[in-house]
């Protein structure tokens, strides 16, 4: 699935311009990282893809179909989303949270009763295993899990309907460096296995370099860089985060990346 942003502008009611003349095209199957400091508009950009936010101007086109009230009910089930705050039901079990990802394809009656079709039950088990959680976790309540474990649940839920498109909004924002690498590797692996296109927002440059096929960098609602990870030069990074953030620092993050490569 491809996505086209065509001169998208998003102005919130309070006057904040979160997206300003944003245009780009992400082809099918690409792992595209949206990079930028806090408040750059990354979340807003991702939310324009599945209609959680509506552009004030311009168009968002997914697989040739413009996002709008008419197309959303059909498009949304094909777009999985992984959230920064995990957005799981803390009191519910891992099983309930993961299988809820299949709700759009479950009849209202069986959804209300709370009994999902067998194939979804099977699939939920497979996915929980794929994201690296043991079987007994199925019955565990999400609030009893660590942050990293919760995000694994979030990833499993996002892939329940084999989405052709995956939106990951700072999926590793509150996780330690090693867990961040693990989760991103997980998302990349699951997406590659399905040929899904990924739009993933991050604010760690090292992680972006390690996982992205392509990086789009934003600052204050504008795209300031769009290209291959190798082309993201220190000068660009400096412009992105202001003079104080340069290459160095984050040594622990690079250490974690090396471990992942081995």
């Amino acid at each position: 699935m491809s996505v086209i942003f065509d001169t998208v502008e998003k102005r919130y009611p309070d006057g904040t311009v979160a997206l300003n003349q944003v245009s780009f095209e992400v082809p099918d199957g690409q792992f595209c990282v949206i990079l930028g400091p806090s408040g750059a508009g990354k979340s807003t950009l991702l939310r324009c893809v599945n209609g959680l936010a509506t552009p004030s101007r311009g168009r968002v086109i997914v697989n040739g179909v413009e996002i709008g009230a008419k197309s959303l009910p059909r498009l949304r089930p094909t777009i999985g989303m992984i959230h920064q705050g995990f957005n799981l039901v803390a009191r519910s079990t891992v099983a309930a949270n993961v299988i809820a990802g299949a709700l759009p394809s479950t009849s209202t009656l069986s959804a209300l009763v709370g009994v999902y079709p067998r194939r979804f039950q099977q699939k939920a088990c497979t996915l929980v295993g794929d994201v690296g959680l043991p079987e007994q976790f199925l019955r565990r309540r999400v609030r009893e899990l660590s942050g990293g474990q919760q995000q694994r649940v979030g990833v499993a839920r996002a892939f329940m309907l084999d989405p052709a498109f995956v939106l990951a909004d700072e999926p590793v924002a509150s996780l330690d460096p090693q867990t961040s690498v693990d989760i991103l590797a997980l998302i990349a692996r699951e997406a590659r296995a399905r040929g899904s296109t990924v739009l993933c927002s991050l604010h760690q440059i090292e992680l972006a370099r390690a996982f992205a096929d392509r990086i789009i960098a934003m600052r204050a609602g504008r795209v300031v860089f769009d290209g291959a990870p190798g082309a993201l030069l220190p000068t660009v990074v400096g412009r992105l985060y202001g003079p104080e953030t340069a290459w160095a620092g984050r040594a622990e993050m690079r250490g974690a990346l090396k471990c992942a490569e081995q």
């Binding site: 599945n50 009910p73 989303m81 959230h83 039901v89 519910s92 809820a100 709700l103 209202t108 709370g114």
Partner: protein
Amino acid sequence: MRGAMSALAESEGRSSPAWRFPQPYGWRSGATAALVAAVLLFTGHRVELDRALVMTGDAVAAAAGSGRPSQVAAGFSTVARQLFPLQLDERTDIDRIENFDSRRLPPFAHVETTTVRSRELNPNTLLLEDRFDRKAVLVQPFGYAFKVGQKLLETLEIALWGTMIAIVFGLPLALLSAQNLRFGRMAYYASRAVVGLCRAVPELISALFLVLAYGFGPIAGVLALAIHSVGFLGKFYAEDIENADPKPQEALIAIGAGRLKVFRHAILPQVMPQYIAYTLYILDRNVRMATVIGLVGAGGIGQELKGRYDMYNYGHVGTILVAIFLLVLILDQLASHLRRAVI
């Protein structure tokens, strides 16, 4: 040492003795207190609290043996004398039992013969004469206690069904009136109005009219309780839906799940402990109300109570009151246990 301390305080420019520390109470609080006191005194006098105080004091003094007559003490002792002994057995005149068969008595029952004295005018002597009739009565030991038990069960059933119906109607009304589920303006206002109206109708009053429509008996009771409870549950349920964490909901909206699915899988699990607590509270309340609305004929123990009271059968009334007291006590314990178990 002291000099050094004050020098430090001065050099930092803090702790000025000329500053005034803000006081919690000012002339405003004094005026408010005076006004409240005046209103309380005035209304207290209007509802005769002063008289109540005096009468209660007299009664306590009388009980302690002051020897002075007390209206309240006399009243209470009359009530106590009439309520006790509690009526536990059931006595029926055998003449009133159709096809009485003395060889086939109900279990545990026996027949007693009593002599009843009555005065009659003798037409020959024109004098009042005592007449002694022998009367056979069927006595069922604990027969009345058993009947009270049955009525209590009926009361519980009325409360249970009133609550069940309230859940069935209250939940959809709550969904429609929760603003974050966006069922639309019309649904919002209509359901809010229905819920508000239900809450505004006291059970005792709706029961009065429901008895006219459905006749004496439990139907009126169940409906009266249901109507009022819908008003409460509809409001409580809706408030929790609106206050539920929106993040899990957004996750399901993002993949295109409809409102009902979002409610069932992102909201209901969050609010379930609260819903159970509310429902248990309403059930607890309905049991107590179910005894009261029986007074206007809406079934259950209250109806029996009213009937006996009107027939001056105070022994029976005593039994009923003790039974209600025990029931409420037991239910209170049960409810708090349940509440602790589910939350």
